[in-house]
């Protein structure tokens, strides 16, 4: 841990410019408040979508969203985006503008999707809007909502076309998200990177059957991709000034290999989040990764097609392995 002036000296940053950059946002809301207000904004957006669809159905006699809905959506997106770009100060006004823009994007995607009868077309349009919104409007919350829309549509399309095998394709999002977190561009794309990292574990809760890894054909490519991500994190840490090869590094490597080889790929995705949290000191990822890990382990053992005795032996063995790794950490003095 270090103070700002110390960091500026170590990294050759102009201290005055650094103080100005940090002072500009001292009134920013903490992440949990942003999340709550974002949920409020999204709730408002859904209400707006329902109203627009009801208006189309009841007044205009349009039962399904088509080109008309897409045009109305584009207008809403442009209006909400322009409002947000005016750098409005009020927290609520900001969230309402975002809600309008997000509702507009969803209507455009729905209109194009219904008109072409293709989820891929809807996903492509949503991705294009997400890219445009990210570059032009530059609001992290709006970026999160737009990228989430595009990713959900793409994952649904993959699920329809590739079935359970979709998990291997979705895994490719993880290294992209990881790269964007470790090597961030000047344009803030952290919301998109977060979603790319979350895509695999969240999609796996729906797409991946909880089975022992060696009993399934699917997910091996995903496991390989995630193992490469773990390896990249382990290799990059010492280069960034962390201790060369510590007990923690060995434990992380063993745990990552065990989880990737034994559990569903989604669990390895959760572990990747925890390792990234540990590497960067990122508390929200630590909480989300831990919650997802508990969920995957719970679901895995609950659904596993084994009798209770086999499950108990497996649980005790994996638990004992974790405790042995903990003992190794404790011996090296890394825990209290």
């Amino acid at each position: 841990m270090m103070a700002l002036d110390e960091l500026c000296r170590a990294f050759g940053i102009d201290p005055e410019a650094a103080h100005r950059a940090l002072a500009a946002k001292t009134d920013a809301a903490p992440w949990y408040a942003e999340a709550l207000l974002g949920a409020g904004g999204w709730f408002s957006a859904i209400a707006i979508i329902v109203f627009v669809l009801a208006f189309c159905g009841l007044v205009l006699g349009i039962d399904e969203p088509g080109i008309g809905a897409a045009v109305a959506g584009l207008a809403l997106f442009a209006f909400g985006g322009a409002w947000r770009r005016r750098q409005v100060e009020g927290l609520f006004v900001r969230h309402f503008a975002i809600a309008i823009a997000a509702a507009g994007a969803a209507l455009v995607a729905a209109g194009i999707g219904v008109e072409t009868e293709s989820l891929w077309a809807a996903a492509a349009v949503a991705a294009a809007i997400a890219a445009a919104g990210t570059v032009a409007i530059r609001d992290p919350l709006l970026q999160f909502l737009l990228v989430a829309l595009a990713l959900v549509l793409a994952i649904l399309g993959l699920e329809l076309d590739a079935g359970r095998g979709a998990i291997d394709v979705i895994a490719l999002a993880a290294p992209v998200g990881l790269w964007l977190y470790l090597h961030p561009p000047a344009l803030n794309v952290r919301p998109a990177a977060t979603l790319l990292l979350l895509a695999l574990p969240l999609a796996a809760t729906v797409l991946e059957p909880p089975a022992l890894s060696w009993t399934t054909e699917r997910g091996w490519f995903a496991r390989a991709v995630l193992l490469l991500c773990f390896a990249a994190l382990i290799v990059l840490r010492p280069r960034a000034g962390a201790a060369p090869v510590s007990a923690t590094t060995i434990v992380a490597a063993v745990l990552a290999a065990l989880v990737a080889l034994l559990l569903p790929a989604g669990a390895a995705g959760a572990l990747l989040l925890m390792m990234l949290a540990y590497t960067l000191g990122h508390r929200p990822f630590a909480a989300i990764g831990a919650a997802l890990a508990v969920w995957f382990i719970w679901q895995f053992y609950y659904e596993l097609d084994l009798d209770l005795l086999a499950k108990s032996i497996l649980l005790a063995a994996v638990g004992a392995g974790c405790l042995a790794l903990y003992a190794l950490l404790a011996r090296r003095g890394a825990t209290a």
Binding site: M1, A3, K25, A29, L36, F92, A186, A240, G319
Partner: protein, 335 residues
């Protein structure tokens, strides 16, 4: 300007590194090094160790539970009792040897507490008396209380609370199930109000210097538990799942008390924000109910349907807007 002064002298974190990167002051290839430099390495080592310990202990205990749930017929009941009792004794002695103030000692005591539940379940397997399930959880909560007191660990007390609440909920269902005044919604409200009592005890204990209860998460878990337990039955009434309006009489003052406590008495933005969020959701549901009761909603009448929907949109927008205003005031007042 206070923030700037603090940054000059105090430690900075990842959020500040992110802002320096966004401002173009830190090159992308040096971002990871900067994040590593400002990271609290000791705290994160501790976190990794605790996560591993929790994961390992949790799975070993689950393995033991699964083993006894398998109910091995060839193992005599007394052998089963003996194995679990030896396990409890070994865990308790090992905790004393390791030290109950250390994470491993506390994990061992939690393990002993969980094994008490296993022992009671095994006794239930061997002697099928037909007793209600609440008796098992009540006995479990009573017996593990000694270990919880001894451990002085917040996580142990959380496990005890879960077992106690299960016992109370099952008691209400199995003993008072036929009483008209006792409904599922009222039981949830009662548990939510009981959690208010535990919040009071927690704050009183922390004020008197009980450091092991001081971590912030203990407050947040209790506040979330209380607000959520009161939220479900209240919203159930507001969206017509049941017709017990008396629940609102408990919910409104409870939320008001929590907000007063964490906005005025013990300023805490996270806890106050949590309560504000739950209250806003209840308010939105209340507005929807009022609109439905007074104007009504039907798809067959286009004008009325659109008017009702427009009112609902306006109401949800107004409440989320008010929530933002309340939050900003709280943030400035607590800064």
């Amino acid at each position: 300007m206070t923030g700037v002064t603090e940054q000059r002298t105090g430690a900075i974190g990842l959020a500040q590194v992110d802002r320096l990167r966004e401002a173009g002051l830190l090159p992308a290839e040096r971002y990871l090094a900067a994040a590593t430099a400002v990271r609290d390495a000791r705290a994160w080592h501790l976190w990794a160790g605790r996560a591993l310990l929790a994961l390992g202990a949790g799975q070993v205990l689950a393995g033991i539970i699964f083993f006894f749930a398998w109910n091995w017929a060839e193992l005599a009941p007394f052998a089963k009792f003996g194995i679990v009792e030896v396990g409890i004794a070994m865990a308790a002695v090992a905790a004393l040897v390791v030290g109950i103030d250390r994470a491993v000692g506390q994990a061992l005591l939690i393990g002993a507490s969980v094994l008490i539940g296993v022992l009671l379940a095994v006794i239930g397997q061997a002697y099928q008396t037909g007793a209600d399930a609440w008796t098992l959880f009540a006995a479990w909560a009573g017996l593990m209380l000694l270990f919880a007191i001894a451990s002085r660990a917040a996580a142990h007390w959380l496990v005890w609370l879960v077992v106690l609440y299960l016992a109370l909920a099952l008691y209400a269902d199995q003993v008072w199930g036929d009483v008209d005044a006792v409904s599922e919604a009222r039981v949830l409200v009662a548990l939510g109000l009981l959690t208010l009592l535990f919040i009071g005890i927690r704050e009183w204990a922390v004020a008197r210097g009980t450091t092991w209860l001081a971590p912030h998460w203990t407050r947040l878990v209790l506040v979330f538990g209380s607000a959520a337990l009161l939220f479900w039955p209240s919203t159930g009434f507001l969206i017509f799942f049941h017709h017990d309006a008396t629940i609102l009489v408990a919910m409104v003052p409870a939320y008001a008390a929590l907000l007063w406590l964490y906005a005025r008495v013990l300023p805490d933005l996270a806890a106050a924000t949590m309560v504000t969020g739950f209250a806003a959701l209840c308010l939105i549901a209340a507005g929807f109910r009022l609109i439905e009761d007074t104007i009504g909603f039907t798809w067959s009448d286009a004008l009325r349907a659109l008017f009702t929907l427009a009112l609902m949109v306006a109401w949800s927008v107004a409440v989320t807007g008010a929530m933002a205003v309340v939050f900003r005031r709280l943030q400035r007042a607590l800064a």
